[in-house]
Amino acid sequence: MPRLVPCLLVAVAIAAGTFADRPSHNPPLTLGGYRVLAVDFHTHSSMWSDGALTPWGLVLEARRQGLDAFAITAHNETWDAHVGQRFSRLVGGPIVLVGEEIVRPSFHLIAAGITTTVTFMQSAAGAIDEVHRQGGIAIAAHPDAEFWEGFDAPAMQRLDGAEICHPSALVPELVFKEDVQRTYEIFAARAPLAAIGSSDFHGLGPMGLCRTYVFADAVSEQGILDAVRAHRTVVYGRDGRVYGDPALVQLAAQAGGLRDREPARDRAGWPDWVSRIAGLLGLAGLIARSRQA
């Protein structure tokens, strides 16, 4: 097979994929006097945080997924979040919150809206206090039963929110024996907390797969943080379940729901299929040729 054929197939795949790779545009939405913003509070970049996209790549991906804001939350460091924030400001992208996933064996805690790294060598309550001192918010990340011990009573009193929608909770019948969604619901019932949906994006599946609709006074980082502190959030979970402030849930339902604002998740369009098939055949041809060489 001439080398030109696999090269052409890859070129066709890239052309079709690039054609399909367009940002998602949603008109601004105001409900009950609040601006409704789609936010993903939990993402990881590839810079020392075992993600698949660079911090600037996350900014572009967030735009494609129709997110108004997101937090870059590396494990126990913040420098890639600063990089992403600067890049987004440069290109006029979504609001980027400097964040961190504070990881200890006993808990995983999302800090968003902070300025510097919060050390993980402390209790959850201590870490939350430090997050608050920096003006940020603290969210319990994927609160599986193994982390409940770390979130003791002082920590629960201080938390601003908890993830109630997370990719691991979306398809439990295929993935886990336990009902993860139910576990998160029980955790959230332990204290008055803002409902949070996050994708914990590492590169598998779409960023913003789970997202939080924040009802903000202002389209700004401060507006988002204030809204979470006031528990003004709505989250769509599995099987049509909706979480968050009941009045806002009702308001969103009267407006026809907010899920229509998310990119289609059910099927791929024809450019995607052209990109996939041509890409797979072309790459297979190139690998086969490289072995021959």
């Binding site: 690039t18 790779d21 020392w48 698949a52 590169g203 059910d266 690998i287």
Partner: protein, 149 residues
């Protein structure tokens, strides 16, 4: 392709930047081994032929990219346990196949006096460097947290 189910200029460029550390660590490890060998080939050509031995990994990645095309974005975001088991089961075979290819390369092309030792050295430096870079910061607090209560 696993992220979005398509190839695009943006994702390819970003993927190249994100995962440049893999060939970088591989090249570093290979350079160390090369220095110890009789060096019958110039470094550039030897490295080029060494990287051609990555074919097992490329086939493996391509197979999972093909599998991703059959999954919905939702399933890709939270892969079924069966898929994760498949990754674990097949990675051992790919590791062995790849090691065999590189062992042959060290023995027949580089004419290394101790190909097995060179292979272990190259794998130790290359894999350890890559794993520490990618997972190090995530794993470190788990290790420290278990030692220091």
């Amino acid at each position: 392709m696993w992220t979005s189910g398509r190839l695009s200029v943006r994702l390819i460029a970003d993927g190249m930047a994100s995962f440049a550390f893999l060939p970088a660590f591989q090249l570093l490890a290979f350079a160390i081994v090369y220095q110890r060998a009789p060096r019958p080939l110039p470094f550039g050509r030897a490295a080029d032929r060494f990287f051609a031995g990555n074919a097992p990994w490329l086939w493996w990645l391509l197979a999972f990219a093909a599998l991703r095309c059959l999954l919905t974005p939702l399933q890709a975001g939270a892969p079924p346990e069966l898929l994760l088991d498949l990754v674990k089961a097949t990675v051992v075979g790919v590791l062995a196949w790849s090691a065999y290819v590189d062992y042959q390369f060290f023995r027949d092309v580089l004419v290394a006096p101790n190909s097995a030792r060179d292979l272990i050295l190259q794998r130790t430096i290359g894999l350890a460097g890559g794993l520490v870079y990618f997972f190090g910061i995530a794993v470190w607090p788990v290790i420290v947290g278990r030692i220091v209560p």
